[in-house]
């Protein structure tokens, strides 16, 4: 029953070319010698993965192991150099909360803008608006420009919008440790509720305890390759052993 993949990756590789010059002058001066100023870097190499519906998957690994890149490839933000990523269902990415906020607009205007960026229609946002404000707990400031928000208020509003997208697949990158403790707990409860509802969650974090507590499956990456795929407790042990 639960063996329904929502994301399938087939031999996904991503090569970054690191250029050391950016301007026209530098390129002209170094023309012909430009090989020296380029460096290939494989952030991902031959990743084959299926992620099933209803699972919570933790992507873990050392800094620079490619986990955030993998998450971005799944989200479609980065196009892989080779291979294909296919997915189905509504996807929402909590890659960085409030990325779509414009500081000069009010909270209300930003709810509509950010909701649309995350894939909601105007009607849906209107319907969810009160619930979003309620979850964020900042009704007094909703008509204030967000540049005057504290970082906690900013993140509260952003998280409140993101969870109203009704995603089938939720991509989360290191954003759970936000807000004060009660709000963090509220966020974790919401994530657990999401799990109960059969949503798929792909999580990138360095907080290995969270992975052990919440994830059904851990994927350990090292130098752009999968070195372990399976039970989250064993995955965390593998990662710790490789440090």
């Amino acid at each position: 029953m639960s063996n329904v993949p929502v994301i399938t990756m087939n031999q996904v590789s991503k090569r970054f070319i690191i250029r050391k010059e950016k301007s026209l002058k530098e390129r002209l001066v170094n023309f012909g010698r430009s090989r020296k100023h380029k460096e290939d870097f494989w952030a991902l190499r031959g990743i084959d993965l299926d992620i099933e519906a209803g699972t919570t998957v933790g992507l873990i690994g050392a800094n620079g192991s490619g986990k955030s890149t993998l998450l971005k490839v799944i989200g479609g933000i980065i196009q892989p150099t080779d291979g294909s990523v296919r997915r189905r269902g509504q996807l929402a990415a909590l890659l960085e909360l409030g990325a779509g906020f414009h500081p000069d607009l009010t909270g209300r205007e930003n709810v509509f803008l950010n909701g649309a960026i995350l894939g909601l229609t105007q009607k849906q946002i209107e319907g969810y608006f009160d619930s979003i404000v309620e979850f964020s707990e900042i009704p007094d400031f909703i008509d204030t420009q967000v540049k005057f928000y504290s970082s906690g208020m900013y993140v509260r509003l952003a998280f409140a919008i993101a969870i109203h997208v009704d995603p089938d697949v939720l991509l989360v990158d290191e954003v759970l440790a936000v807000g004060d403790e009660p709000f963090q707990k509220k966020c974790l409860d919401k994530i657990k509720e999401f799990q109960q509802e059969g949503r798929t969650i792909v999580l990138v974090t360095h907080d290995l305890q969270t992975v052990q507590d919440m994830c059904d499956r851990a994927i350990v990456l090292s130098h752009g390759q999968v070195i372990f795929d399976g039970d989250s407790v064993k995955g965390v042990e593998t990662l710790r052993a490789s440090f």
Partner: protein, 341 residues
């Protein structure tokens, strides 16, 4: 590096998954997902024809977001100023005043161009549209770096939003222009108005092509934005905006190639078409005071380029091809935006 047997570990995790998916809501969701087809993540594929229409479809499905992005640009621009949109009028009116006084009166262009104010303002209006589309869209991808790095939305939306906000400002300038035309009592109610419409369509077409092309290249080569500034300055003076087409033809009479080279710039054709539509005084003989010998100073109507209709059609078709090429270039380059920004 220790490698483990993923297959074995997989079985363990599957046992745990089952424990999660117990609620009926979850089962329903999964059953629904099972029926959905797979789609490729990210932008539509890069085939030459299908990719273009895929890109167009992608933008169309996000048109409410495009609408919000345009509003955001407009709202954020004058957000904390007390005069707000009044500033949109101030700049073009100042330019009109400067050109009218400095070039029209002091340098004497108004003595050979009838209704110089209307003439120069129509040129400034259509050029302003082109100028703003290119200048703001070139920066549009970089200006939205935060979003592009974090969320997938079709990236074409950002240069298109710049075009949208430029069109809004153009609309404001058009109101001023039409008011001025009404005040001087020469509303050009004729078929020539269609030329003005054609000019706007051509400017939008070329603006879209250049917006896509320049905004994408500017991510990889930051010099583009400075090159564009200089190029726009040169092109402004290479188009019949503050001086008239008749003055170019005077030189072209001795050197015919001057006129053909001059007309090869698609913006020249667009500006001439716009003037033909908006500036009625240019299409009929006018008396402008007296000459030095006391004879009436009769200005002959502008000798608009031959086959202007056909020229506009060709320019438009070339523009459409350029839009297609630019979209393909954009699609190719946008795959790496997220790291290159």
């Amino acid at each position: 590096m220790p490698t483990f047997g993923p297959a074995v570990m997989y079985e363990v995790s599957r046992a745990r998954i089952r424990s999660h998916v117990t609620t009926t809501a979850a089962q329903e969701r999964i059953r629904r997902l099972e029926k959905l087809p797979f789609v490729a993540a990210g932008a539509p594929d890069a085939t030459l024809i299908g990719g273009f229409f895929g890109g167009v479809r992608d933008v169309l499905t996000h048109r409410s977001l495009l609408d919000l992005l345009i509003r955001r640009e407009l709202k954020a621009r004058y957000k904390d100023s007390s005069l707000g949109f009044v500033w949109s009028f101030v700049r073009p009116l100042t330019m009109l005043l400067i050109y009218y006084v400095a070039i029209g009166q002091f340098l004497g262009a108004a003595r050979s161009v009838p209704q110089y104010a209307i003439f120069v303002y129509s040129g400034l209006t259509i050029w302003g549209l082109y100028n703003e589309i290119i200048a703001s869209s070139t920066m549009s991808i970089l200006a939205n770096a935060g979003l592009i790095k974090k969320v997938y939305v079709p990236r074409e939306l950002f240069p298109l939003a710049s075009i949208g906000s430029a069109l809004f400002n153009f609309g404001i300038q058009m109101i001023v222009l039409l008011a001025a035309i009404l005040l001087t009592g020469q509303f050009p109610l004729s078929w020539n108005l269609l030329y003005a419409l054609a000019a706007v369509v051509i400017v939008i077409t070329y603006g879209t092509a250049l917006a896509l092309f320049l905004s994408a290249w500017n991510v990889y080569l930051r010099d583009i934005q400075y090159l564009v500034e200089v190029a726009l300055l040169i092109l402004f003076w290479a188009s019949p905006i503050v001086y008239s087409w008749t003055q170019v033809q005077t030189i072209g009479a001795h050197h015919p190639w001057v006129s053909s080279v001059y007309l090869a710039n698609p913006m020249t054709d667009a500006i001439l078409a716009f003037q033909k539509g908006m500036w009625e005084a240019g299409s009929k003989p006018t008396q402008l005071g007296l000459t030095a010998t006391g004879q009436p100073n009769i200005i002959q109507p502008v000798d608009w380029p031959q086959n202007l209709d056909f020229r506009l059609l060709v320019v438009f078709v070339v523009g459409l091809v350029l839009v297609w090429v630019a979209q393909r270039v954009f699609a190719r380059l946008q795959g790496n935006f997220a790291q290159e920004i």
